[in-house]
Symmetry: C2
Subunit: 201 residues, 2 copies
Amino acid sequence: MNVVNESPRRKELTRLAAQLFVQEGFDRTTVRMLAQEMGIKSGSLFHHFRDKQEILAAVIEEGTQNALMLARQALDECGGSASERLHAMARAHLETLLTDRNAHVVALYEWRRLDAAARDHLSHLRDAYEELWEQVIDEALEAGLVHGDRFLVSRFVMGALNWTVRWYDPEGPRKPEDLAHELVAMIAPSTHSQPGQSTKV
Amino acid sequence: MNVVNESPRRKELTRLAAQLFVQEGFDRTTVRMLAQEMGIKSGSLFHHFRDKQEILAAVIEEGTQNALMLARQALDECGGSASERLHAMARAHLETLLTDRNAHVVALYEWRRLDAAARDHLSHLRDAYEELWEQVIDEALEAGLVHGDRFLVSRFVMGALNWTVRWYDPEGPRKPEDLAHELVAMIAPSTHSQPGQSTKV
DNA sequence: GTCTATAGCGGGATAGAC
DNA sequence: GTCTATCCCGCTATAGAC
């Protein structure tokens, strides 16, 4: 459905929609606001999307797919130690959340506003991303880096990261990488990150 | 403004509103839904509240005040060790979020929907609650229980806790107390909780 | 304190010209 | 692919009777 419909125009409109959804929330964002941001009239919007719901679905698909891609890439590029992988994953997650401040945030914070059909269509994507997290957490548990229940630890870690959206100041001194480092230090304090990736601040 | 207006009737209506705001979100909750839940017609609502905004403000004030009260009480009743206090705080926080599932959740998740005046009026309450957290985190840092930056640690911990709202299943086997215990174990693994409070599961 | 009735507005979405 | 024009609906809030 969406895979076919990937015109560059639509992608650009999706990007702009993501920005507004983050600023205002999905419910408060009107189709007229969306149209204005896109430089067209509200009627024209429905040439690209069937309805407002479909815009949300497009944003969330884009955001999750992007996060998944960047996370896999980060894991491929980092060293193989459990600690390095945990750090790489946290860093990738925070960068998709805090640097672009768009589609991934919408995916996390507006998921409930998807209708049943869209949730159904997108849940496997979300699950794939969460499984990647659980896998990295598993490795950390096996390495003795962290202790506790796999399910709970991954949800606590994701919660700590996802909540940064609420208080992080992009103009402040801390970069997403710094936050990732501090989080790993908090839950796995005995770890010394390998050189080659400057995780020490 | 609100302190004067604390009729039992209004408190009850506020309680019902909180429930709907959690289920549907503030924006999706209509005054007609609120009225129906309260057993009156929508017009009658405005005898108790000036407008929809004021209902939200009442819920958030109630939720934060309640959380603050219960947190202080929990700290008073627990032992004095940094680990016990951290655990008590986390437990109180989770119980206000997950057991009642109402006003405190709204305070956390719908804060942005408050207008400027209400935010101004309520921010000192929210700040008092966050300062209580930072104080407990400070004690944990000084006791060597946890390591890191005071600001970041408290935000990470609160994030992990606040995000539980998204995945916690009240019908499941885990109680808020169990979650609190697991979180403390995750960030301060070397700690052995004092007896007298069964924190071990 | 609650009701009925309704004003007044802004929302999502459509139709057909260009 | 975008425009104008507009339908229709549901929302918040008000007025005045009871």
